[in-house]
Symmetry: C2
Subunit: 108 residues, 2 copies
């Protein structure tokens, strides 16, 4: 049986975002993402083919959705369901303590 802890074994200030695949099924992918200050490049928008449920577990972050006036400031426990092809970007993530996300990507 697979198991682990999302809040331990955090990389210490890696240069890049760390993505760890926890579970993968036919139509699903569950990942832990650790951000330490990384943000989307200027002008970049994620445009994903899958629906994504994402929850912030520690740290803090700011998301922005295209055509939305308001940014979405996220604190621990905050979740958002991002429909496929809803263009969004990560404007800012907290460095320390690191920003830990759990993401559930689904297709089909």
């Amino acid at each position: 049986m697979q198991r682990g802890n999302l809040l331990t074994g955090l990389p210490s200030r890696p240069a890049e975002e760390q993505i760890e695949r926890l579970v993968e099924g036919r139509n699903i992918r569950i990942e832990r993402i650790v951000s330490t200050g990384q943000a989307s490049p200027t002008g970049f928008w994620y445009d994903q083919p899958d629906d994504e449920f994402v929850v912030l577990l520690s740290g803090a972050a700011r998301l922005r959705f295209e055509h939305d006036l308001l940014a979405l400031d996220m604190k621990p426990g905050d979740w958002v369901e991002i429909p496929a092809h809803r263009r969004h970007r990560v404007e800012w993530t907290q460095v320390e303590p690191p920003t830990v996300w759990l993401a559930v990507h689904r297709s089909g």
Copy 2:
């Protein structure tokens, strides 16, 4: 776009476990579960048709799996992937602060 916070709006000591459906898709169901001391009845085992990924976000709990000698004590951040029909029970959950789980059930 659906969103919320998993750690706020907690029921205060309800008699029963509170299950809130956050997202539902064709092969998936994402729920927040709030336990405040509830446990599985003596001799009861969950025997679920779906795979379940569950992570404990706050509080504490003890799970037991059939034919396992050891119980699984869970603290915040701990996750476990429970394959379909892997019989298990909740032996104990912390009352205060409440025990909050995020569960991802998948079929297909």
